[in-house]
């Protein structure tokens, strides 16, 4: 069997075991509501970033427009609950499919652009959607959607007094999204994504329809981002355009993934594990008078990681692995010559 495939399987099993251990333990170990909140946010942002990872990391199309899909998902659920007074689930599905369709419509012309032009076009798109939602009467514009009180439970996916079901909910979302990415990695689609990312001309010359591949990645990625958005609004009880459809939200997805390691399955999780606690705890510690301290630290981390190790935390880990493997190898050679002739 292919050696590269075996390594990936290895790591995934570790992850799976950790996840299995976490699930039953959380309610017993973590009684602190704030800590639960942080854990939920970690899993949520890891999921969001993982969905971006499909198009930005694996396919190599760095788009800053992903918050649009996140927002569409949030509004999908929100509209169902607030405007139509029903359970969120139909809204979640419609939101996700809408996000996919919008992604393809936007993606098709944008993919004709190269490099920086593409990136800037994605900024422009976020800003356009942001302003549009601010003035769109149907979605309550700048006021946003505020959730009314509804019956607690899985039917409405709302709880007021406990965070534990939210934790399980986001965990399921996390496992689903990571599972999808894992599948992509191991099959033809993932290889095609990598080929398009590495060298589009070469990919085309061996029969890969790069436009189709990019659009498919875009559609899947948007769908999953929308699901995350839906979870967000169910957890937050409220949504408005600046909260979800902003450039800074887009940057968050990008940064978490890059910091953790774009194009790797664990990257988004690593990134979220570092940045979310940083964000939440600094806000808690310094929120009032510190103003921006957490963002200063955030900024410094970004600069340092991006400059020293553009492959992020996973890049650092793999470098350490190589380093230790080299040491092991030289040890081994030493032993051979000592023991042998």
């Amino acid at each position: 069997m292919n050696i590269t495939k075996f390594k990936k399987k290895d790591v995934y099993w570790y992850l799976f075991i950790i996840v299995l251990i976490i699930i039953p333990l959380v309610p017993f170990v973590v009684n602190n509501s704030f800590l639960q909140h942080v854990l939920i946010l970690i899993l949520l942002f890891a999921s969001m970033s993982q969905s971006w990872n499909i198009i930005g990391g694996y396919a190599g199309q760095v788009s800053f427009g992903h918050s649009v899909f996140f927002g569409i998902g949030a509004y999908g659920a929100g509209m169902a609950v607030v405007k139509y007074g029903i359970v969120p689930w139909p809204g979640i599905l419609i939101g996700a499919f809408t996000a996919s369709i919008v992604a393809v419509i936007i993606g098709y012309p944008c993919f004709k652009l190269k490099g920086h032009y593409f990136a800037i076009a994605t900024f422009a798109i976020v800003e356009i959607f942001n302003r549009l939602f601010m003035v769109w009467y149907w979605v309550e514009g700048a006021l946003g959607l505020d959730y009314p009180l509804v019956e607690v439970g899985w039917k409405n996916f709302i709880w007021y007094n406990t965070k534990i079901p939210y934790y399980y909910g986001v965990l399921i979302l996390f496992i689903v999204i990571f599972g999808i990415v894992r599948w992509i990695e191991k099959n033809r689609f993932g290889y095609y994504l990598a080929a398009v990312r590495e060298d589009q001309e070469a990919a085309e010359s061996i029969g890969i329809n790069s436009t189709m591949v990019k659009l498919a990645a875009m559609a899947i990625s948007a769908f999953l981002a929308a699901l995350c958005g839906a979870f967000f609004v169910q957890y937050n009880f409220r949504v408005d355009p600046p909260m979800v459809m902003s450039l800074s939200m887009s940057m968050t997805f990008v940064l978490i993934t890059i910091l953790g390691g774009a194009g790797t399955i664990l990257g988004p999780l690593m990134g979220a594990l570092i940045l979310i606690p940083l964000q939440e705890y600094s806000r808690a510690l310094w929120g009032g008078f510190g103003g921006g301290m957490d963002l200063i630290i955030f900024g410094i981390i970004i600069v340092v990681v991006v400059v020293r190790q553009p492959r992020g935390i996973m890049g650092i880990i793999s470098e350490l692995k190589n380093h230790f493997q080299k040491i092991k190898k030289s040890d081994f050679n030493l032993k051979k010559t000592e023991g042998g002739e």
């Binding site: 292919n2 050696i3 590269t4 191991k186 099959n187 033809r188 290889y191 095609y192 990598a194 080929a195 590495e198 060298d199 001309e201 070469a202 990919a203 085309e204 010359s205 061996i206 029969g207 890969i208 329809n209 790069s210």
Partner: protein, 255 residues
Amino acid sequence: MNKLPLLEVHNVTKKFGSLIANHDVSFNIEEGQIVGLIGPNGAGKTTLFNCISGLYKVNEGKVLFKGIEITEFPPYRVAKLGAVRTFQIVHPLKDMTVFDNILIGAYLREPNNQKAIEIAERCIKIGYLSEVKNKRAGDITIGLKKRLELARALATGPKLLMLDESMAGLTSTEVKESVELVKNLRDTGITFLIVEHVMEAIMPIADKVIVLDGGIKIAEGKPEEIIKNEQVIEAYFGKKYSKKLQAAKGVEKSV
């Protein structure tokens, strides 16, 4: 039984602004042939490749493959149909292993992982790449990169393989190996269109040779005819030198 030519090139013209890179080029390739495409630098050989493979849009003319008109097809469609090209400046997928590079080629006909892996393994053996199978494609030598490009194209199961200077930069042993490889592959049913400067690599094995100069096809025929063709000699050596050559050879011309 008159079989359709595998590749038909009809009056292809390609211009870049006022520069005419290919002018009214026409030729056919029959199934099972090894056809050489030669000519001095700048003759338009790679441009012609790019026109056939869909990377460039022709200004005039038609290209037919297996009887289907592929003139307007994008590169991936041409490849899917079975006409696959390699690049003069190699394009390995640098960060992936040699094996993965070839696997991606295999995936064109075979979406199933297991079967694709089998095809890739076979192509690794054919391309003598077993030793570097798991190395990063960007790290291997240029000779191996060229073989990788060939093996990757092979994995896509092509009917026509278009090689663009795949012998450049190889040692003479490597050249001999590659020539054997091409002959063996032709015997398995693959047709070849090969651009070459390394004459030992193409002249001995070609069924026919097409010569381009300044964008125009100046000759087409068997290798032994081509090397005697005056226009071809002039194209490579220039008018003055070829006149000297004629004079040195003696009376052949006046008779």
